[in-house]
């Protein structure tokens, strides 16, 4: 890959305009106080003044809250199924400003959607989306990415990583696709001063992460206390069983499938679902997670025990959204810290 590039602060809008010719560019936007990744309005880069992280994680661009899987039509000689137009035919997308935690989260969500049977809806969107990440400068007090294998300038999920240097951005290509994007953008090479500025910024951001937990051995600690009903009842006591933590989590991906028919036309939809909901595992004869403590246990264990068992990584990137958005300030870091030590084997 070619060396790093430099983007001057005043050149950023022109760059976004250039990229808009080949991609649909998504950038942070604010709607009634909620920050969302939406199609860039083409105006300016003013969002950089206030942008820290989006309320809804950028996973909504590749795994939207709802999507139509296919339509069906009842015709004279039976049903006809109509697939939506292939995602490949649609314009590629460029997600500008995604934070390292959220980008890394997508690599984590990829795992169940790729293994075994491939989920065409997710994968088509994912393959059609380029990620231009932005190193963090103002982490939240709820961020704990460094405790779960990430960091404020971690490039492991992005195609390009931008880091502020003071008068602009250092642009590092993290994948071949990212390299192509930068090469075709006609940018000047980064100078040693740019590299130094970015290195300083990265160091400062790391120092800004104040929330830390020891994630070593969480899997074993959870395995040991799986049957500890008293622990889980206490941990679950104030949970409301709403879906905020799961819907706004960049690594949560559970979904529901529902049909709708109006007259002779209908469709099947995929939509976000949550293991926190009491009906999530509802069966006619019984519900294995009727009690709230079982659902809270499932959520914690899925992220920090079952996911590592199946894929070798934790299902959490420490973005902190669950902590700052939870209506009762249920804090997963507090729960994890309070886990008893693993039993001696």
């Amino acid at each position: 890959m070619a060396g790093n590039k430099k983007i001057g602060r005043k050149d950023l809008v022109k760059l976004l305009e250039k990229w808009s010719q080949g991609f649909t560019v998504f950038a942070p936007s604010r709607e009634n106080g909620e920050v969302l990744m939406r199609e860039w309005d083409g105006k300016d880069s003013g969002f950089l003044e206030w942008y820290r992280n989006s309320t809804q994680p950028p996973k909504d661009v590749v795994l939207p809250p709802m999507e139509k899987m296919f339509a069906f039509h009842k015709e004279k000689d039976g049903y006809r199924i109509e697939e939506p137009p292939p995602q490949q035919q649609q314009r590629r997308r460029l997600l500008f400003g995604i934070r390292p935690c959220d980008a890394r989260a997508l690599t984590i969500v990829d795992l169940p959607f790729k293994e075994g049977y491939e989920d065409p809806y997710y994968l088509a969107r994912r393959q059609g989306t380029l990620l231009v990440g932005l190193s963090c400068t103002r982490p939240y007090d709820s961020c704990f990415c460094t405790s779960v294998g990430g960091g404020p300038s971690d490039a492991s999920g992005v195609d390009v990583l931008l880091t502020g240097t003071g008068d602009g951005y250092l642009a590092e290509a993290a994948t071949p696709a990212g390299g192509e994007l930068l090469d075709s953008a006609g940018l000047e090479d980064a100078s040693p001063a740019d590299e130094a500025g970015a290195a300083e910024a990265k160091k400062a951001a790391l120092a800004g992460i104040t929330r830390k937990i020891d994630s070593e051995g969480l899997k074993d600690r959870l395995l040991s206390c799986f049957e500890d009903r008293e622990f889980w009842e206490k941990a679950a006591a104030k949970c409301l069983s709403c879906g905020v933590c799961t819907f706004f989590c960049p690594t949560c991906y559970c979904f529901d499938i529902n049909d709708e028919m109006v007259g002779e036309q209908g469709a099947r939809f995929k939509s976000w679902d949550s293991c926190a909901f009491s009906v999530y595992t509802q069966m006619p004869v019984e519900n294995p997670r009727l009690e709230k403590w079982r659902r809270v246990r499932q959520k914690v264990c899925h992220k920090f025990e079952f996911y590592p068992m199946n894929f070798g990584v934790m299902g959490c990137v420490g973005c902190g959204r669950c902590i700052r958005l939870c209506p009762v300030n249920w804090d997963i870091t507090r729960v994890l810290e309070s886990l008893p030590p693993a039993a001696e084997s």
Binding site: M69, F70, F72, K74, G78, Y79, I81, E83, P112, F113, E115, G116, Y117, E118, D119, P120, Y121, F226, E227, R229, Y253, C254, F255, D256, I257, N258, D259, E260, M261, G266, R268, D273, C275, Y280, T281, Q282, M283, P284, V285, E286, P288, R289, R294, Q298, C301, H302, E305, F306, Y307, M309, N310
Partner: protein, 289 residues
């Protein structure tokens, strides 16, 4: 106890694993007031020829506009002129299925899941323990075994239901009763004027029948409470957790290990199951229920 996933045949429609194939209902059998068996075949000739599955696998059946639900394929892969599934009327999709008539079109995605490990069962004595509609996945395996009788040892079947009216697959029970190489015991939970046969809950009757655990494997399927009590009964008879196989049921949506909801611990019933040995699940199952 899980069969190698890479060996499973896949039949995604149009390459999209979520698209159902169209199938047509050819025959409907009223097993009990609440349970029906559907005989069906794919509309597409080529698929009808090519489609294969293994005993224990399930499929996702659609009533278009109403929804999808998972049921095991209850016919045996050794009898391919049509496919079968059976289900109890309990909710939105099953009620809609029960309202369909012969000739109606349904959707089918599959086959999914793992299957009964025939390689492990070969040469062994088999003890089938079923309750109510739980006989559906078992009957696929039983006919599979019967059609290849020479490969297996003794066959014992202990099957029960709440009352005579709740017994499913009565035509199978008759056939197995008449088969000299099968020890068939049918029981109902409580005394009933129309019943002169055995009376008692399945786990208790199983203990009375007392099959030997030597070179044997028990395959269990029924209501969760029956399964829960059958494992200790089998243990009493000397069966080890590895000698007990069951097929589990969970709320499912995608059926392919993506939507997240059917897990027991780190295992997904749709992907790593539905066939499990008791040894695999005993750590998580006791506190899941």
């Amino acid at each position: 106890m899980t069969t190698d996933a890479s060996q499973r045949r896949e039949f995604p429609a149009g390459g999209n694993v979520y698209l159902p194939h169209i199938a047509v209902i050819e025959k409907i059998i009223d097993e009990t007031p609440a349970v029906k068996t559907f005989h069906f075949n794919f509309k597409d000739e080529k698929l009808r020829e090519e489609f294969t599955f293994e005993s224990g696998q399930f499929a996702e059946y659609s009533v278009f506009g109403v929804g999808e639900a998972p049921f095991c394929i209850s016919s045996s892969p050794t009898r391919k002129d049509h496919l079968e599934f059976a289900m109890q009327r309990v909710g939105k999709v099953t009620n809609a299925l029960h309202r369909l008539g012969v000739g109606a079109e349904i959707g089918l995605r599959g086959p999914y899941g793992n299957s009964f490990p025939l390689d492990v069962l070969q040469g062994k004595n088999l003890v089938f323990v079923g309750g109510g509609i739980g006989l559906a996945p078992l009957r696929s395996l039983i006919w599979n075994v019967v059609d290849n009788r020479g490969r297996y040892g003794k066959i014992d079947i202990v099957y029960g239901a709440r009352s005579p009216a709740d017994l499913c697959f009565k035509y199978d029970l008759d056939a197995w009763e008449k088969d000299g190489s099968i020890g068939m015991v049918t029981t109902i939970d409580r005394e009933h004027p129309d019943w002169t046969g055995k009376v008692g809950l399945v786990p208790k009757v199983l203990e009375e029948v007392g099959p030997s655990p030597d070179n044997a494997v028990a395959i269990v399927c029924g209501p969760p409470i029956m399964i829960r009590f059958t494992f200790p009964s089998l243990a009493k008879l000397g069966f080890t957790p590895e000698q007990m196989i069951t097929t589990l049921e969970k709320r499912m949506k995608c059926g392919i290990g993506k939507c997240g909801r059917c897990n027991i611990g780190n295992l997904y019933v749709c992907r790593d199951g539905p066939v499990f040995s008791y040894a695999q699940i005993k750590d998580f199952i006791s506190s899941e229920h």
